[in-house]
């Protein structure tokens, strides 16, 4: 272990002869990164006394590694001035390593003393996620149990979701007005659950549009979403018995860029003046730009997202909004499939567990505060 007094490190050297080298970093420590697949060590150090200002101001740190304490050090990476840690992600498991930090400045270089030896190792279970694992198991089993039970249970209750009830009205309105329905499935790719939920709703909207012979347009932000939406819309038209009305150009790619996409859609809304606009999926800053523009042309708007930061914008600007979990419940709600409805009941069990934990946690904290007890803080479990 190197102390603060080691700034006059004997290994410090000058690369320019008469110039004074910077002070070396101190307290170099190396530790295996916990709860990982192995192969990684995190190195921490105290900044050089010359890091920040002065003629010897540090320009960068180099990280050196060796399997022997006093020789054979090689540079494995570098960081900018001001940094105090580095992750060595190329360590071999169960091999002892020593680390040194070399500091570089215009006046020369200096090396710290080596760290104590350490080695990377693989963990077979991420203990920091134990409570999450248990909770996931309980909720997962509750969902599976209710899915299984729902197969034999008839008439599961699901509360009315106004935004989904309004889908039929929106499509009907577009048909009567002879204007387009524009469906926007968010700006993220198919790896987002919100996009998958949006595509599910698109299936329903497309089927209704096919039955009513309403004009549907789906401008998308990524190629994979385009391909998926195209398949879903095509299938919906087929199921509605109107494959003749389907056209590949109904679903088309615009751009991957967030604001260019928003600009293109704004233009589309203003030119086409659609009767109905569906904004479903994952949105960011463009949410309000889209919703307000569609509102300005008098379109009925049904939005849905699980982005808490965008929900207020949709609630303010749209006629109907699917708030958070309602977006994910859409497929069960629209299909009324008992198995899907069963999964919603499993979700309710999860909500009950959360409610219970929050209540007990609040009571414990209140008792700790008022009576000076030492009951556990449940918030730390998660």
């Amino acid at each position: 272990m190197v102390g603060a007094e080691d700034v006059t490190n004997p290994v410090a050297e000058s690369t320019k002869g008469i110039q004074t080298p910077p002070a070396p970093p101190t307290n170099v420590t190396a530790k295996d990164i916990p709860n990982d697949k192995g192969g990684a060590v995190t190195i921490s150090w105290g900044k050089s006394a010359d890091d920040g200002s002065g003629a010897k101001n540090v320009t960068k740190y180099e990280i050196l590694r060796s399997t022997k304490r006093d020789e054979g050090y090689e540079v494995i990476g570098n960081t900018v001035a001001g940094a105090t840690s580095f992750s060595d992600n190329a360590a071999e498991n169960k091999v002892l390593y020593f680390y040194k930090i070399k500091v570089l400045s215009p006046t020369g270089t200096a090396e710290s003393l080596p760290s104590a030896s350490t080695f990377a190792k693989r963990q077979w279970f991420n203990l920091s996620r134990l409570s999450l694992f248990i909770l996931s198991l309980v909720i997962g089993f509750a969902i599976l149990y209710f899915i299984e039970r729902a197969k034999s249970e008839k008439g599961l209750f699901i509360r009315r979701i106004a935004g989904l009830e309004a889908v039929d009205d929106a499509v009907g309105r577009a048909t009567e007005m002879g204007r387009k329905i524009i469906f926007v499935p968010g700006i993220m790719d198919m790896d987002s659950m919100q996009t998958i939920a949006a595509v599910t709703i698109l299936g329903r909207v497309a089927k209704l549009a096919a039955e009513y012979e309403a004009k549907l347009e789906v401008p998308v932000c990524t190629s994979l979403v385009m391909v998926t939406c195209r398949e879903v819309v095509k299938e919906a038209y087929l199921n509605a018995g109107r494959p003749d009305v389907y056209n590949d150009k109904m679903v088309y790619y615009v751009t991957n860029d967030q604001f260019a996409y928003a600009a293109a859609l704004d233009g589309l809304f203003l030119r086409e003046r659609p009767a109905a606009v569906f904004l479903q999926g994952q949105f960011y800053a463009e949410s309000l730009i889209l919703a307000e523009t569609a509102n300005s042309v008098g379109a009925i708007q049904i939005a849905g997202t699980a982005m808490p930061t965008q929900l207020p914008f949709f609630v303010a600007a749209c006629d109907y909004t699917l708030i958070g979990e309602e977006l994910f419940a859409a497929s069960a709600y629209l299909s009324k499939d008992p198995k899907l409805l069963g999964s919603l009941k499993g979700q309710d069990v999860g909500k009950f567990i959360f409610l219970l934990v929050i209540l007990i946690g609040a009571v414990f904290l209140t008792l700790n505060s008022v009576l000076g007890l030492n009951l556990p803080n449940l918030g730390r479990l998660f």
């Binding site: 190629s223 998926t228 999964s343």
Partner: protein
């Protein structure tokens, strides 16, 4: 087969991703699957580009409504692609000094900033509609918004300074307690919704995305 294979693949990948979240050695597979996704997405961009050119080219050819916009799209795409590929001056095309960088900083960047800046006006118009006191809930929203807006600006401090910055403290209280509680309730619902949807997808109950019923 056309539907079964994607369902089986989805289930396999989904289960592996869940396991990898708790058992670190499985991260090798998780990283592998993520790499595959990016490779597929990278190839898929060609589908997007070809679609962009086809749709807009067709619009221009048939002189459909809004065809000049299609022309701008195709010209913009071609200019950026050609300059990025062939006029980078032997350096990385994003480097300062290259023609691509010049166009990026002087055309693309200001245009994006303009779109983003529109938000300021849209926030005002949406707030105006949302804050109209039509019923009890909207009136409460109006009150909360008024306290927050006034409590977070210097003039609010100036008004309520003699009360020990009461407006500022009330604004903080609204943000720290009712707002946080509401937001967390929504987030818990979202988290459970994602778990439930993911299980439905993995089990093959949810299959609209594969164009199945």
């Amino acid at each position: 087969m056309r539907r079964e294979v994607p369902l089986v693949l989805t289930a396999m990948v989904g289960i592996t991703m869940i396991i990898a979240h708790f058992i670190p050695p499985f991260n090798i597979l998780k990283d592998l699957f993520e790499d595959w996704f990016f490779i597929i997405a990278a190839f898929a961009i060609y589908l997007g580009i070809s679609n962009l050119i086809l749709v807009n080219g067709d619009k221009i050819y048939k002189k459909q409504k809004g065809w000049p916009f299609g022309l701008v799209v195709i010209l913009g795409f071609l200019v950026m692609t050609v300059i990025g590929l062939f006029f980078s001056g032997g350096t990385s095309f994003q480097d300062p000094g290259t023609p691509f960088y010049y166009l990026y900083m002087n055309v693309y960047y200001p245009l994006s900033a303009t779109m983003f800046a529109l938000l300021a006006f849209f926030v005002a118009s949406a707030s105006y509609r949302a804050f109209r006191a039509r019923n009890v809930e909207a009136t409460m929203l109006l009150l909360a918004a008024f306290i927050l807006m006034v409590g977070r600006v210097p003039i609010g401090y100036w008004f309520s300074d003699w009360l020990g910055d009461a407006l500022g403290k009330l604004a903080d209280w609204i943000m720290d307690f009712p707002q946080t509680a509401g937001q967390r309730a929504i987030m818990i619902g979202i988290a459970l919704g994602v778990v439930s949807s993911a299980l439905r997808v993995i089990l093959g109950l949810e299959r609209t995305y594969t164009s199945g019923e």
